[in-house]
């Protein structure tokens, strides 16, 4: 009898947790559902309706493409550059005898603590002077610099765990240093590389502050389009939902795939620090 009531109590808690999860996710779910409705069907809100791709076809025929292109190019190039510069740096910090490597690591991290407003004005003036305002290059430069510390911070915790024996063995077997780096070290920190790359992609894709301040027309990315859609296009809820879905989906999928690696990266770097 007692066991029976305990089971009921457990089930009630679990149902409550399910409801809580759905409630928390509701704004995203609602946007997602609305994006498959026609404008006329948006109000009043309904759960049952005939899904249509109408708003997507309108949105995809509109001026969204340049923004998508900018976002994709800026994000991809930033992630690549950040990895190419960040991984050797954290490798150097962990394995090479660099004086004050702790201080350099701390310096890297501290640059990320700086509020973006602290550097936005001079960056604007400098890029203006170099004629790079409103260009993808400017965005890529800034995002790369912001992303490198993330890559260093996240790959470091994986590099530290590589047993030195493996590197000694490689040396005895006559494996060159370059080969060791590419064929032994990189595969061992695959998880760190993926999770930092995903984090960089998510942050860059979503960043609004620099995209807003360093671009006007040509290099604007999706977050800026998102912010100005209502004032430019007027009130079209289904279209707005379709655009929001397009903007949300890539980082959501990447985030969901990588959540385990992400938590490990975030907490390992800090908790064991």
């Amino acid at each position: 009898m007692i066991r029976y009531s305990k089971k009921i109590k457990q089930s009630i808690i679990i149902i409550f947790i399910y409801l809580l999860g759905i409630l928390y996710f509701f704004p995203i779910l609602y946007t997602f559902l609305t994006s498959f409705k026609t404008e006329a069907n948006v109000v009043p809100p309904s759960i049952f309706f005939i899904p249509t791709l109408e708003s997507y076809s309108i949105v995809l025929k509109s001026k969204i493409w340049p923004y998508v292109e900018n976002s994709v190019i800026v994000t991809t190039v930033t992630a690549l550059l950040a990895l190419v510069m960040g991984i050797p740096a954290s490798y150097n910090l962990v394995f090479s005898k660099i004086k004050k490597s702790q201080n350099i690591l701390f310096w890297f991290i501290s640059t990320n603590l700086l509020p973006p407003v602290a550097i936005a004005i001079p960056l604007f003036l400098i890029f203006n002077y170099l004629n790079l305002l409103d260009s993808r290059v400017a965005l890529i430069i800034v995002y790369t610099a912001i992303s490198i510390p993330i890559v260093v911070w996240m790959t470091r915790s994986f590099l530290v765990e590589i047993p030195r024996d493996i590197l000694e063995a490689a040396s005895i077997d006559g494996c060159t240093k370059l080969r060791t780096f590419f064929y032994i070290i990189l595969p061992l920190i695959k998880m760190g590389i993926t999770s930092s790359a995903l984090l960089v992609i998510i942050f860059t894709w979503n960043d609004f502050f620099f995209a807003l301040n360093l671009t006007y027309v040509n290099a604007q990315t999706l977050p800026v389009y998102m912010a100005t859609f209502m004032t430019k296009q007027g009130f079209f809820w289904a279209q707005l939902s379709a655009i929001s879905t397009i903007c949300m989906l890539p980082p959501l999928i990447l985030g969901w795939i990588s959540q385990k690696a992400l938590v490990r990266g975030l907490t390992m770097g800090a908790v064991k620090g």
Partner: protein, 297 residues
């Protein structure tokens, strides 16, 4: 030749770190120093006739004698503390609820962390136009169903609206970190506590919290740093208004720089923002250190 150098098959060229250091230094440190310099000048971009003048600390003096500044400072303080507290509490509740095994637990976790990956401006637009809108948004329908007057969140409670949005976006981060902590606790500790007759609450306060205190610290410190930067949510919902009612420090700097084009004063404000961030972070760190010691004893 160095002994370890011979043993380990490792590239020792220090050049490897250079590109990263150079890029980060040029893009973040140089502008930071320039901000410091600019804060001592009077430079109105829209009034080139006035020229650029060295004015020492007059920008700072003007800011400190401006009543708007104190409104903004208070807003920043309220926004940060309220959001941080709520994120911590809700994140902890979620983490405790989901630190168990039942069918579909991963789906629920996935649903809860979703807002963390959504861009600021999308969050702002969705909440502003589809949830909090008093006529066709969900708040409007809720009022219809319950025969009450809809609450005009954005107009009447702008700062509260921003807090709601920040909490919705950042609770998942707290949840993730705290859950990682809770899952790292060995089951033996909990079992021993149960055998000793500790109830659920005692187990939580005396066993779980001390064991995950590092995770709590990490969540608070990183959360604080991110929440102090909040910008996009404000831009795309209230634009800091009405007046300065929902403006925080970063948004105030933005308005001064890119709306009023008062470069000197904006730079001075940016410096004050940094000092504020450092101050709050240090206070919090000290507080946590003290708490930490107490818990350990």
């Amino acid at each position: 030749m160095n002994k370890t150098k011979a043993k380990l098959s490792v590239l020792h060229e220090r050049k490897l770190i250079l590109p990263a250091v150079v890029v980060v230094a040029i893009v973040t440190q140089v502008p930071f120093i320039l901000t410091l310099v600019l804060s001592l000048f009077k430079w109105m971009v829209l009034r080139p006739d006035l020229g650029t003048k060295f004015v020492f600390f007059r920008n700072f003096i003007r800011i400190f004698s401006d009543s708007n500044f104190y409104t903004v400072l208070l807003n920043t303080f309220i926004l940060t503390i309220a959001s941080l507290t709520l994120c911590m509490i809700i994140g902890m509740v979620f983490a405790l609820l989901l630190d168990r095994n039942f069918p579909g637990v991963n789906i629920v976790r996935t649903l809860i962390i979703a807002p963390f990956f959504v861009m600021d401006t999308a969050i702002a637009v969705i909440w502003k136009n589809m949830i909090l809108e008093p006529t066709v948004g969900f708040v409007g329908y809720f009022a219809l169903w319950t025969h009450t007057k809809p609450i005009h969140f954005l107009g009447n409670y702008p700062l509260l609206t921003i807090i709601i949005l920040v909490v919705w976006q950042w609770t998942p981060f707290f949840f993730l970190v705290l859950l990682a902590g809770l899952q790292g606790i060995s089951k033996d500790f909990i079992d021993v506590a149960k055998v000793d007759g500790a109830n659920w609450f005692q187990t939580f306060i005396h066993i779980k919290i001390p064991l995950i205190i590092r995770h709590v610290e990490v969540a608070i410190m990183l959360g604080l740093i991110f929440i102090l930067k909040v910008f996009g949510l404000i831009f795309a919902t209230t634009s800091g208004g009405p007046g300065h009612a929902s403006t925080n420090l970063p948004f105030f700097v933005y308005k001064t720089a890119f709306w009023a084009w008062d470069v000197g004063e904006a730079a001075a404000l940016a410096i004050i923002t940094i000092v504020f961030v450092l101050f709050v972070a240090m206070m919090l760190f000290k507080f946590l250190k003290r708490r930490f010691v107490e818990v350990e004893l």
